[in-house]
Amino acid sequence: MGFNRACVIRMPDTAHQIICRCEDVTEEEVLRAIAQGAVTADEVKRLTRAGMGHCQGRTCRRLVNQLLARRLGQRPADQKPVTQRSPLQPVSLKVLADSNQ
């Protein structure tokens, strides 16, 4: 579960593989954060911005956890998920302000 990428074709050079599409974070950058001592997705997020963009980690959350699992031998079941923060999708200042009563 999550330890091997279920892909038929493996890229020989994964250094420029995008992990977080919103913030353009590459696999290499996530691995560098792990090499610097990050052991949680929370730390990877703060060091690389993976998960801080428009979709708030919907795509990269699992990928980051897979990289942590693979590098550090973590079991996915033991990984602490990053905090989900509202609004869960981007909302304009105007719509929010108009909701304030």
């Binding site: 929370d42 509202s86 304009s92 105007k94």
Partner: protein, 378 residues
């Protein structure tokens, strides 16, 4: 012995990592501990503003020093901290506030901050063409105030501590202070593991009182919840940090490096305690307050809200001192200014520790001072 060092620092935010860096740079063996990950407390939840506009001479001078340090930080730490002197503009909508700002500007200029000046409403509009100046008398403007990226600064300091031979331990909660003969000799982690050093520095931010209590030392710092939000990145508009002290005002700025707007306001009534919970009230009220000042941002989207703690002292000034337990120091109580004060305060703390002096360098930041005159530009 692997668990022995010259200095133990409790807290991996700006105060702890800056202090640790300057001590490590002076050749001392530093061991730093945080109960979570680096930047998991107040520093990582702040909005990254850096200003010199204070009303105590020491704070103004320390902040001028911090600005110098931020400006040279990329080179010093070998990492990009996104320092940008985008300025701060404090807005005055009534005569009383205007007079207070004019008085403050005199104090600031006398302390050496020559860049700060009063701007009238017309000039404020020139600085921020998108600003709604209805009812605005003017503002206190300092173009050399600015912004930086907290995670990069703290990580930069932590990496340097490691590079200089120190150790940084995340997820290592301190459960006890060890002492012998009236002097601190180390710490005991919650796991039971002991680490020894003749100097222990409490840089625990909103938990400074709890860490002090481990040694029976009272630290007059209380956590207080403040909420914040951040938008998507849009084209950089050159808007300085806008500070509106009115009851339904707030403060926000745009990051130069990625175009995101980030902001918060001081809740009324206060919300004491360690809660990091977010509210719908803030999520809708902060945008209203932002659009009141800059209506053109209406379509900019909020991507995230969160909360963090201010570390509040009775007079709004920080604490930098030794304690009644020899070798046990405290740097904290930054009252919402920890990120900006951190570099200069960390440097000052390191110098104080190394000097071995009895009296702290800033009497108004002494641990056992009379908490009388308050910082006016909170």
């Amino acid at each position: 012995m692997a668990n022995t060092s010259d200095i133990i620092i409790i807290g991996g935010g700006i105060a702890g990592t800056a202090t640790g860096y300057y001590l490590a740079k002076a050749g001392l063996q530093v061991a730093l501990f945080d109960k979570g990950f680096l930047c998991s407390g107040s520093t990582g939840r702040c909005i990254g503003g850096v200003r010199q506009q204070f009303t105590s001479e020491s704070s103004i001078k320390l902040m001028m020093r911090s600005v110098e340090l931020f400006a040279g930080m990329d080179e010093e730490l070998g990492t990009e901290v996104h320092w940008h002197p985008g300025g701060y503009l404090f807005l005055a909508h009534d005569e009383q506030k205007k007079q207070a700002f004019l008085d403050n500007i005199r104090i600031q200029q006398a302390a050496g901050l020559k860049d700060v000046r009063w701007v009238d409403a017309a000039e404020a509009r020139e600085i921020v063409p998108l600003l709604d100046t209805a009812g605005l008398l003017g503002g206190s403007y300092c173009p050399t105030d600015g912004q930086a990226y907290p995670f990069a600064v703290v990580n930069g300091y932590a990496q340097m501590i490691r590079k200089l031979g120190g150790r940084v331990h995340a997820f290592s909660e301190v459960g006890g202070i060890i002492s012998a003969g009236g002097a601190a000799t180390g710490i005991r982690l919650a796991s039971g593991e002991e680490h020894h050093a003749p100097v222990v520095v409490n840089c625990a931010g909103p938990w400074a009182a709890e860490v002090g209590a481990l040694a029976g030392i009272e630290v007059p710092v209380e956590a207080e919840r403040h909420e914040a939000l951040i938008t998507e990145g849009v084209e950089y508009l050159g808007i300085p940090m806008l500070v509106d002290y009115r009851a339904d005002g707030g403060y926000f700025q745009q990051f130069r490096h990625n175009g995101q707007f980030i902001g918060c306001y001081s809740p009324s009534p206060r919300v004491p305690g360690h809660s990091a919970g977010s509210t719908f009230e803030f999520l809708t009220d902060m945008p209203r307050r932002m659009l009141k000042l800059v209506p053109a941002l209406a379509e900019v989207k909020v991507v995230r809200q969160w909360a963090g703690s201010y570390e509040v002292t009775p007079d709004g000034n920080p604490v930098l001192d030794r304690t009644e337990l020899a070798g046990f120091y405290v740097l904290g109580g930054m009252c919402g200014h920890g990120f900006m004060l951190g570099p200069a305060m960390g440097q000052a703390m390191a110098a104080f520790v190394r000097s071995g002096a009895k009296e702290p360098p800033y009497p108004e930041f002494a641990l056992r001072r009379q908490f009388g005159r308050a910082e006016a530009m909170k």
